[in-house]
Amino acid sequence: MRDLFLAVLLRDLKLASRRRIDSLLPVVFFIVALSLFPLGVGPEPQMLRDIAPGIVWVCALLASMLSVGSLFAGDLADGSLEQLLLAPQPAIAVAAAKSVAHWLLTGLPLIVATPLVGLLFGMSMPALLALVAGLLLGTPILSLLGALGAALTLGLRSGGMLLILIVLPLTTPALIFGAGAVSNVEAGLPAGGHFSLLGALLLATALGAPVATAAALRISTE
């Protein structure tokens, strides 16, 4: 199972490296979308500092959801998805590998871009650290749930919007805890509980989502 996992993961990374511009799109979207907020709500520094954790999380969510739609599409189109599912190893390996690949290509770059964003919004160092830590725990959750959504909506006409509609409600706990942790840190309150809950969410999602995604892949390709 580990071989299939690594094979799929490395293949996705290699394919992404050949289309670097496409791979950078989620991060660019992330920064552009975030920049719209000061333009829309005004540049008053304290307000921006207040809303920063929430809107960073929301934009991370949206960037993830927009890029996860095509997670399986390429493989479906050229027939390789069917081949992968015919393999004797469980499809969970494929689901997990795809989720990890998505996180490495979308989630991780977002986390790297966050300090820049923190600067733009005038966040304090402790708040920024809490934000990055939260995203470190949260973006994998987004990739895992996004993969499930992509598998369920595989090949559908209304795919993109539908995927966002069905996955976003499932990601709201992560959003609440992640943004809440930063708010707590800014207010001088302890954020340990938030991070623990986020960690627990990650664990539960990591155990459950690939199983569900594998089932969804079978449902969508039968």
């Binding site: 369920l152 909506t153 559908l156 539908l162 509609l165 069905i166 409600p169 499932l170 449902i219 969508s220």
Partner: protein
């Protein structure tokens, strides 16, 4: 063989369900009307005015039953969808699909009545506390399920995908229930519990419980009727449907 288990299974056939439900639905409507009349009578004419909230609290006879239904129906929907997926039972999947719009309706009603209760009580139509937010998310879960099953043309794939989504979403239902305990919130704590004495007058509680049963009866009536429609839609080519519609004038 005529073993009891076999007889139970025969009602799992769409045709038998269609017969049975056709007989039951009018009784459900009767129950709905009677229970609603009783519940609202007690709620408006017997239960006293509340000391703190005045008469605005009477929204509770609508709000709480609707909220309960919204949560219970989601679990029931996920259950039947799951059964349909696990045992390839077509009728179970049809029932799940029939539940979704009614569940969404009750969720919307809970939110709407909650807002109209919140405005005079808290001064705001909406607050983003845990329970309200979770109920809103429940509405999105219903809408997502409906959108997904309607977006997939292949009926079997749609049923199965919907089942998976509903089961995954059902982890949200306990979160709503426990959210009052976990977070500081503006929403009042649970006033009805299995062990502790209820914190409200018994007439108010009675009216609320009767209204819950009324909503249950309503849900059965509507969901069964919708299931009957779905059965006809899906089994249109079956012999028994042809038999049923024989002699029916063409539109």
């Amino acid at each position: 063989m005529n073993s009891p288990s076999l007889r139970l299974y025969t009602f799992a056939a769409p045709s038998r369900f269609y017969q049975l439900s056709g007989w039951l639905v009018p009784w459900f409507w009767a129950a709905t009307i009677l229970l609603t009349a009783a519940g609202l009578y007690i709620g408006f004419f017997v239960a006293p005015t509340d000391a703190t909230q005045g008469d605005s609290y009477r929204i509770i006879f609508l709000h709480v039953p609707a909220a309960w239904m919204s949560m219970v129906l989601y679990v029931v929907m996920a259950f039947w969808a799951g059964i349909g997926w696990a045992f390839n039972a077509r009728l179970s999947s049809m029932v799940a699909r029939a539940i979704a719009p009614t569940g969404a309706m009750f969720t919307f009603l809970a939110l709407w009545s909650g807002a109209f209760w919140g405005k005079p009580t808290w001064g705001a139509w909406w607050v983003w506390d845990a329970r309200l937010t979770s109920e809103l998310i429940l509405l999105f879960l219903y809408l997502g399920y409906i959108a997904l099953v309607n977006a997939i043309d292949d009926v079997r794939r749609a049923d199965q995908a919907g089942a998976l989504l509903a089961l995954v979403g059902s982890v949200n239902v306990p979160i709503i229930y426990f959210s009052v305990k976990w977070w500081n919130t503006l929403h009042q704590g649970a006033t009805v519990s299995m062990t502790a004495a209820p914190k409200m007058a018994s007439t108010m509680l009675t009216a609320m419980l009767i209204m819950s049963f009324a909503f249950w009866a309503y849900a059965f009536a509507v969901v069964f009727t919708r299931t009957r429609a779905i059965v006809i839609e899906r089994e249109a080519h079956a012999g028994w449907v042809a038999e049923l519609t024989r002699g029916r004038m063409q539109a």
